[in-house]
Each structure stands twice: as C-alpha cells, then as structure tokens.
C-alpha cells in the first residue's frame, strides 16, 4: 500500500507541475496578500497580538484559495471514476493529504518570510514560532483535505469551502494566534503544550477522515 500511495503522490505532483497554474495562483495569492497587508499598514507598529492575528488570517485565506484544488481538479477533469477504479479510497485520501500538507507548508514558508521581512517582525522565541507555524499549517491542511473532498462533490467552489472550513478551523486559529503572539512578544510562558494540542487535533481529524473518506468518495 505504501508504494501505491507514493505512486499516487508522484502522479499528483507530476500533474500539478505540468499544469502549474493552480499551484502558482495559490502561491501568488499568499504572496500578494502578505505584501498588500504590509503596504497598507505602512510601517505602523502593531502589538504582537495584532501581528499574530493578521498572520494567521492571511494563512487561513491562502488555504481557502488553494487547498481544495486537488479534489476539485479530479471532479472537473472527470478523472475521479478512473482513479477510484484502481485505488482504494484510503490510498487516495492519504496521498491527497500528503500533497496538501506539503503544499501548505510551502505556502506557509513563503508567507512567513514575506511577513517577517516586510513587517519587520522578529520573534523572540524563534523555536516556538517555528513549531507553531509548522503544527498550525499541518492542522489546517488536515482539516481542509477532508472538507475539500466534500466541497468537490458539491461543485459549489471556494465560497462554500470557506463557509464550512471556518467553524472547524477556529480552535486551530485561536491556539496558533495565541502561541504566535507569545513567541513574537517574548513575554509569558512558552506553552509548548499548545503545540501538542495542535498536533493532537490534526491526529484526531486525520484518523476520523481516514475512516469516513469512503462515504464521501464512493456511493457505497
């Protein structure tokens, strides 16, 4: 099963690389939004909490613009029956999940660098900040994978995706914002247990999604 999942992941990367427009647009969205915020802010000093909030809002909307694509493409190009004839739902889910995690971690790297550079923010607790971005991104990617699959079956596009993702992503956003604020600010206790919280959340969502994906993907 592992090699089949790997085959599926390679196929997705190959297709997205050959037709780069969707992934490019996701990266462009993330970059433009970050730059827009920094230009509009015009050097105003924000308190750390505000930086944290804006940072995670940018990441949230970047996720909304790009993370359902991997499923929507299968439906739009009418490949989903072809795919499901040769791979089990579980294999398809894991490969799409890994794709989304890799994609969103890359987007987060870009947003982080642009944000820290243009808004001239230097986190005091660098390791905590790094862990927050990584675990928060993994959590967002985990949630958006299963919800993206649902939205692809509905055919309504990204507005529906944003509507249904928001309530489920709230705990992630709150925790990540609080952690980011502490790590930029340098005050307060370094609460590493919130990182565990984010990872636990991802773990639970991935487990439940793994078990229920077949109800979304197939008619049985």
């Amino acid at each position: 099963m592992n090699s089949r999942i790997l085959k599926n992941i390679k196929k997705d990367f190959l297709i997205e690389f050959r037709n780069r427009s969707a992934v490019n647009i996701s990266f462009a969205f993330a970059g433009i939004t970050t730059l827009s915020v920094s230009l509009v802010a015009g050097g105003t000093p924000f308190p750390p909490v505000v930086h944290a909030i804006i940072f995670w809002i940018i990441l949230f909307f970047s996720a909304m613009s790009g993370l359902a694509h991997i499923f929507i493409r299968e439906e739009e190009e009418k490949n989903s029956l072809f795919l499901s004839l040769y791979y089990t739902p579980e294999e398809i889910y894991i490969s799409k999940l890994i794709f989304n995690v890799v994609l969103f971690l890359s987007i987060s790297v870009i947003v982080t660098f642009l944000y820290l550079f243009f808004l001239q923010v230097l986190p005091s607790y660098k390791f905590l900040f790094f862990l927050t971005v990584v675990s928060g991104s993994i959590a967002i990617a985990s949630v958006t994978t299963i919800l993206g699959a649902m939205v692809s079956k509905a055919g309504s596009g990204s507005s529906l995706f944003t509507v249904i993702s928001f309530p489920v992503l709230l705990p992630v956003l709150w925790t990540a914002i609080s952690l980011t604020s502490v790590s930029i600010d340098g005050s307060g206790v370094q609460e590493y247990r919130n990182i565990i919280f984010l990872l636990a959340f991802s773990g639970v969502i991935v487990s439940v999604s793994y078990l229920s994906f077949k109800f979304i993907w197939t008619e049985f």
Binding site: V49, M150, P171, T175, F197, S212, F215, E219
Partner: protein, 227 residues
C-alpha cells in the same frame, strides 16, 4: 403514535406549557438585581439546553447513518430534522441571550465564553445546511453532510478545552458568569425546572411531528413509485 401518548403530548404542549409561561411571567418572584427582566431566564436556559440536545441528536443520527445500513431513510430525515430544530433553537438562544446581556451588563455582546460557544454552534449549523443544499443532486448528499457533522462534533471537545483559555488572554474583560452567581430561591428554581421540562417535551413533540411528516412523504413517494 398511540392515541394515549398523543393526548398526553397535546396536554403538555397546549395546556401545561402556557401554564408554565404564566408561572414564569407572573408567579415567580423577580430576581434581586435584575427585577422583572430576569424572567427571560426561564426562556433562555431551556432553549440553550435544547440547542445542545438537538446537536447531539443530529450527531447521533448522522453517525448511525455512517455505521449501519439499516433504517437509512429514517435516519436521514431524522438527522436533518434534528439539525433543523437545532438551528432554530440556537438562534433563539443567541437572541434571548443578547437580550439578557443587554439587561444585565448593558451591551448586547460581550465575548463571554458561553456566548461564543453558542455562536460557533450556530456557524456549524449554517455550514451544515449550506453543504446540504449545495449537494442538491448528489446521491451521497446525506452521507457527506453526516461526515461533516461528525467532524464538527469532534472539534467540540477541543473548543470546550480552549475557549476559557483564549478569551482571558485575547480580551482582557473579565469573564462574566452571571448564571452561576445568581442565587435562585425555591420558587424560581421550581419555575426554571418546570420550564426546562416543558420545553423539552415541546421539543420532543415538534421533532416527532416533523419525523412523522417526513415518514409520510417517504411512504407517498414509495406508493407513487409502485404505480
């Protein structure tokens, strides 16, 4: 439904429930600080309980849809009806809650953890119905919506864990927890208890009614199909 049960339900809903309303509005004594306006307690608390109960009912039926192949059509309309009543009660909770907040603390919205939790529940319902209606022509409509409700249910414990810790840090306002601080004397306690009971029975009545309608619609469709 058996006639005996039906009579009992009608008795509760159409006779005892208005009696309890009278009790709430006239008989129970006014509270210490809030005066007559405290009577909203007798409406707000039951509705809040019911919005959570509806959520649990919708979640239960959704999970059963995914787990077992039996009674699928019945569970499909039950989960939808539970969610439908749920969103109505949630909206009522938010409205009565803000009225109470205005009366007690002077503003309609305060970022109290309880208020926030109810708003999140409302968002989940809104998302559920958006997804359900967007899946209009899909064969898997109820199953996909059920998976969504399942995922939303799973995030609930995380919310409960995190909300009290977030709002102290993000908003420096003190957490107002007036429900716990109000000391209820015996008459008020009795009225509150009666109100919760009668609202719950009302909920059962409405839910049962909606399910019977859905079941009849299903039977009608099957009869049409046989012809």
């Amino acid at each position: 439904m058996k006639t005996y049960n039906r009579i009992l339900f009608l008795l509760f809903v159409f006779i005892i429930m208005p009696a309890v309303f009278m009790m709430a509005l006239l008989w129970a004594p006014p509270a210490e600080f809030l005066g007559e306006a405290s009577r909203i307690l007798y409406f707000h608390v039951p509705v809040a309980c019911l919005s959570v109960i509806s959520f649990i009912a919708a979640g239960y039926h959704s999970i059963m849809i995914l787990i077992s192949e039996n009674n699928i059509e019945e569970r499909e309309y039950k989960s939808y009806n539970a969610a439908y009543t749920g969103i109505i009660f949630t909206i009522l909770t938010v409205v009565t809650g803000s009225i109470w907040a205005k009366i007690s603390w002077g503003s309609y919205w305060n970022w109290d953890p309880r208020e926030t939790s109810i708003v999140i529940l409302m968002l989940i319902y809104i998302s559920y119905f958006s997804l359900y209606s967007a899946l209009k022509d899909n064969v898997n409509r109820t199953r996909i919506s059920s998976v969504y409700l399942l995922i939303a249910m799973i995030t609930m414990p995380f919310f409960v864990f995190i909300i009290p810790r977030i709002y102290p840090s993000l908003h420096p306002d003190t957490i107002i927890n007036a429900e716990k601080k109000v000391h209820l004397d015996a008459a008020m306690r009795l009225t509150l208890f009666a109100s919760v009971v009668v609202f719950t029975i009302f909920y059962g009545y409405v839910f049962n009614l909606m399910n019977r309608i859905s079941s009849l619609e299903l039977k009608l469709q099957e009869k049409q199909n046989d012809n």
